[in-house]
Every structure is written in C-alpha cells, then in structure tokens.
Symmetry: none
Subunit: 194 residues, 4 copies
C-alpha cells in the first residue's frame, strides 16, 4: 500500500563558485598563454578544481572557451540610420570579436570539432541577427545596390577580419575603410581618409 520502495531525492546543485572560478581561470589563462597553450589541467589547477569537474560541464576544450569568451560579449548593435556608419560599426564590432580570442576558436576548433560550430552559432546568433538586420536596413534604404546575400556579406567581413588576424596584419582604420568601401560598393557618399 504505502509503497515507497525508492525514488526520493534531487541531487546536489552545481557549485557556482567552482563554475565561475573555472571560467575566470580560463579567461586568465587565455590572456596569458593564448589559446593553444591552454590546457584543461592548467585551468583545473588554477581554478582549484578537479579536472573531472571541468569535463562534467564542458566535455570539450572548445566549449569551455566559447562559454568563457561569451561572458565578455557586449550587447548587439542597432542601426543608427546611417548605412555607411552602420556597416563601419559592424566591421569594428567584428574586429573586436573575431580579432580576439574568438578568432583563435574559429581557427583551432571549428574545423575539427563538429560540436564547436553549432555552439559558436548559438553564442553568436544574436550578433549575426543584428548585423543581418543592419545590412537589410541599408539595402532597404537603397544603399546596398544589389540583391544582398547577407550571410555571404557577413562571411566576407568575418573572414576578412579572421584572415588579417591570422596573418598578423593590422586591423586598423585603413583596413576598416577599405572593407567598408568594398561592402558599400561606392554607392554611398564616402569620406575615405585615404
């Protein structure tokens, strides 16, 4: 009748302190030794945590890093009404993101960790959506003169920034000007510095 054979219980909650310590250790290690030299053991030791605890929540190194980097992202952009300025802002934001550790994640993990791609897209989805909206708004204004494939254009921007970073070439105003001009196709009254 009053059978309660077994079946109580909930389980311990995640230890938020350890969780945060791991993410912080990950970011600190990234800053100090870079992506390739970051090891799970190093992060565990630095966070004062058992390796297994890291593997419990982040089965792959890339997941850990993507989440850690994700805590540093700023809010998505919105159009300011000026197409050229908007596009320039998109490029600058891309430089901030892809020009940093995120670029290393792309370079190192996406190609050979099939789970990293989707996870990165989850993280960056809102930003890509915002950038897509900005491009479409510019097209609606007539400032992008062709039937735009926003995915391709954003791939061009991301790729260009990533490549420059990998080649250790400057991601400066000159490059931003060039890329902006390329995207806007000379349709917008430009004031290129050189």
């Amino acid at each position: 009748m009053t059978e309660t054979p077994h079946g109580a219980g909930g389980g311990r909650k995640r230890n938020e302190h350890a969780h945060e310590a791991i993410l912080e250790a990950t970011l600190a290690t990234l800053r100090e030794v870079g992506y390739q030299q970051l090891t799970m053991e190093g992060v565990a030791a630095r966070a004062g945590v058992a390796k297994a605890t890291i593997y419990r929540w982040w089965p792959q190194k890339s997941h850990l890093i993507i989440e850690a980097v994700g805590t540093q992202l700023t809010t998505p952009l919105q159009t300011q009404g000026n197409s050229e300025a908007d596009i320039r802002a998109v490029i600058q934001r891309t430089i901030e993101f892809v020009g940093g550790v995120l670029g290393d994640v792309y370079a190192a993990d996406i190609a050979h960790d099939p789970t990293a791609g989707p996870q990165l897209e989850d993280l960056l989805g809102p930003y890509r959506a915002a950038h897509t909206a900005i491009l479409l708004a510019a097209a609606a204004r007539g400032d992008l003169p062709y039937t735009i494939d926003a995915t391709a254009v954003l791939d061009v921007i991301n790729g260009a920034v990533l490549f420059r970073k990998l080649m250790k070439r400057p991601l400066d105003d000159h490059f931003t000007d060039q890329l902006t001009a390329l995207i806007t196709s000379g349709q917008i009254p430009r004031t290129l510095t050189a």
Copy 2:
C-alpha cells in the same frame, strides 16, 4: 687555416626515396584523417621512415605539410583581358587552394607557429603576386573604381573563402558571384546567374 682535423670525409646524400615517401604519406594522411589528426609518428610509420628523418628536414609539422601541399599547386594565373573574368578566376583559384588543406594550415598553424607564416608566404608568394597583378590590371582598365589596396582585397578574398570553409558553407557559384560582385563594386556589366 684549412680545418681538417683528421683526414677527409664526405657524407651521405639525402635519400630521395625516403623524402618522397614522406611527402606522399603526408598527403595521404591529410586526405584520410585530416590536418588535426595527422601525427608525425603516423607519417613516419606510413612512410616506413624514422621519426628523426622527418625532423631532420622539417623541424615543424607545418613545414612538412606546407611542402607537401606545395607539390600539388598548379601554375599561377595570368590576366585574360577581362577584369570580371579575371577576378572570378582569382576567386576560384583561391577556393581551390584555401578551400582545401591549405585552409586547415592557415587555421591550425599560422596562429601559433611563428615560422609557418613566412614559409607559407614563400610558397604562395608567386600566386599572390599574380593575383595582385590581375587586380592592378583591372584597376588600370578603370574596372576597379577606387585606389585599390590589393593586399586588403586579396585578404578579403582569402578570408571569405577560409571562413566559408571553416563554417562548412558551400563554396559554389552563388558565393563566387556574390564575392565577385562585391569586389567589382557593380562597376562591371555583370551577368550573374542568379
């Protein structure tokens, strides 16, 4: 004076048979397991060669792979007189190169192997020079409407292709069209398929 402490001496020549076997084993391994899974030990075993022999000639994994890939490169492009067709050809050639193993080399090594960048540039220098010439010819014809920074434009092309490869998005005619249009800024009478 003439340093000859104890007689003469020659030294054995490089074993070309082993050399080629290593490059072939490298390419075969690349094709089968990809860049990240390629190990020096695996290549040595496959080539029937001692690890030290590989290290003697290619002190870094990236050097080995770059040389192996380099044996597969075709001849550089030349302008055909039609700017849009030229630029399209440059993009297609980039897809051939960067869309393949070379893209993995960029992604995996350039970022953390300081010697890989210069070596890659040595290898790809003639191609980059040819592509630069094509862009400058187009600019001379007035088909590229701004003071072109050929380096930046080639970085955009390479980066876009690399990024699409990493994201596993198609490197097809549609993408080629989009990128061609972006570069040519809509100044050239286009016949886009879609």
Copy 3:
C-alpha cells in the same frame, strides 16, 4: 511488516528494503564480476540506492562484502565422534568458505584494511570455535598425538586452502586426503585412495 514511513517519535528507521537490496546487489556483483571489479558505485546503481547510503552502514568496502558473504554461511559443524571424518569435514567446510569469495576477501582486504581482520573474525568466530572444539575432541580421543595448537592447525588448514585457491590448483578429494593425512599424522587408520 514493520513499516514506519513517517515515525513521529524519534528518527527514521533503517530502510530494510534498501539494506537487503544492497546486500543482494553485492552478492550478485561478486558472482558476476568478482571481487576486484566490484565497485561501490556499481553496487549502489544496481541496488537503486545512493552511494552515501552504503557508506552510512558499511564504511569500508570490505565490511559490505563480509556482511554480504556472511548471509550465505551455513551452520557450524559438530563432532560426529570420528576424528578423521571430523577433520575431513573441517577441511571441506574450509574449502567451501575460503575457496569461495571469502578467499578473495582474505587476499584483498585483510592485508591493508586494519578493520577487516577483526570484522572477519567476528563473522567467522563461531566457525573457528566449532573447529577448535572438533580438534580438541580428537586430541582428547588420542587421535591427534601431540599437544595441539589448534590455532596453528586451523591456520594451516585455512592457509593451505587459500593458497591453493590463489594458485588456481584444485581443491579436490586428493588434496583433502593429503591435508587430512598431514593433520592426523598417520595416527588414524587411513584409507587414502592413492
């Protein structure tokens, strides 16, 4: 049927259902994978019980196993009046006990778990007492011709059986004959098979 699911007075009773499930899971696991492969986690999972519940009642793995094995023991021997038959029975009983899982407990735990020894002695005390009585009765009959040290003799029997088990040598009639003869010192009319 001593169900007291919500006792008001003082403290919840031990959950007999879980207790038995644990002992059964222990025995089943012992039979299937053996002593060394038995893990607390495995037993807990099989019994549908939390690990902590096991540790609450059996602080050491050896305790759990000793109690589980203890539920399987048959009743102690008594002298049948015939010294040789008695001693043979003692040996056979020892083969039943030590030749089974108990032998593994001796081998694995006694040496390095200081609490396992006393607990085993608690469990086996009645049997050792019974065997001692049988040996002393034989000595009283004059069938054991020396001032017997029953502890030493039982140690010899236990040890011989344990060693044969460890060495995977047969614990058969021939061995029983040999050991019986050794103990009885040839003082009893023997009918050894060979």
Copy 4:
C-alpha cells in the same frame, strides 16, 4: 641497382641506469608505504623516469614488483642430510619469502592478474624445485612416512605462512615447530620447545 630500400638499424639500447633506478625506487617504495600504496606514478617520480618507460618494460604493476623482489632473493636451499632440519629450513625460508612483500604479491595480484601467476612461478621455480628435492630426499630416507605429494605439502607450508602473515599472527619459532611437526608427522625424534 641492388636496391636496399630500407632495413638498417637496430634501435637504441635499454637504459640500464633508468632500469635499475626503477627497481630500486620500487623496493624503496615497497618498504616505506607497502604494497597497496605503491603507485606507478610514485615509482616513476622517485626514479626520475617517465611513466611510459615503466609501462614499456613492466606492463603490470605486479610484474614490476615481482622483478624487484626477485633481485633480493638468496640462493636456493640444499639438503643438509637431516630431514627435520631440512624441513625446518624450508619453512624458515618460506617465512623469509612469503612473510615479506612476496606475500602481498600473492594476496593482491595472483587472484586477479592472470599474468602474475606464471611470472611468479618463473621467479620462484628454482626455489620450489629445491624444496621439492628436499622433501623427496626426506621421503627417500623414510622420514616422511607416506607417499608424499610434494606440491601439496609445499602449498600447505606456503599457505600456512601466508595466512599467518595476513592474520598478523607471529611467524616465530613456536609456529615453525608446530608446522615442522605437522609435516614430519611425528616420525622424527622431535625436540619441540612446547
């Protein structure tokens, strides 16, 4: 013409210095922390050696320990012409061997490491052979009054000593007397102390 594609070389020799350091570290660790607390990592660290080097030569912990212990064995016994003294010597030698680390090896490894048994037998074979010869010599003299199964008798001696060790009971003269008397069946003029 005469192709010798590849097929030279023999490989680097074993590093005897490291080899000995490992065995010494094993023995020292055994003495200090005992069998169960000995870890491969501890031995490697103590010997100043990579773990993989240990695993290369001793794939199992038991192998390493057996070889280490084997370096400490003294020469086998020989009969001195006196059966009782011989048997007593066999027992004492067994106490030296099995009463020490070897006993732990029996207890811990033989039962669950199928390769440890044969390896131990290889190591102890000469000693068992010597002891067998001693027993047979005693039987030939008529001092062992039954058709002796030397294997069984040696198992009894080994087992008794092992069991006493595991139970932490003394392996002293009294025990030696008792066991000697048991083996010799009272046929030899004895001078038992008690």
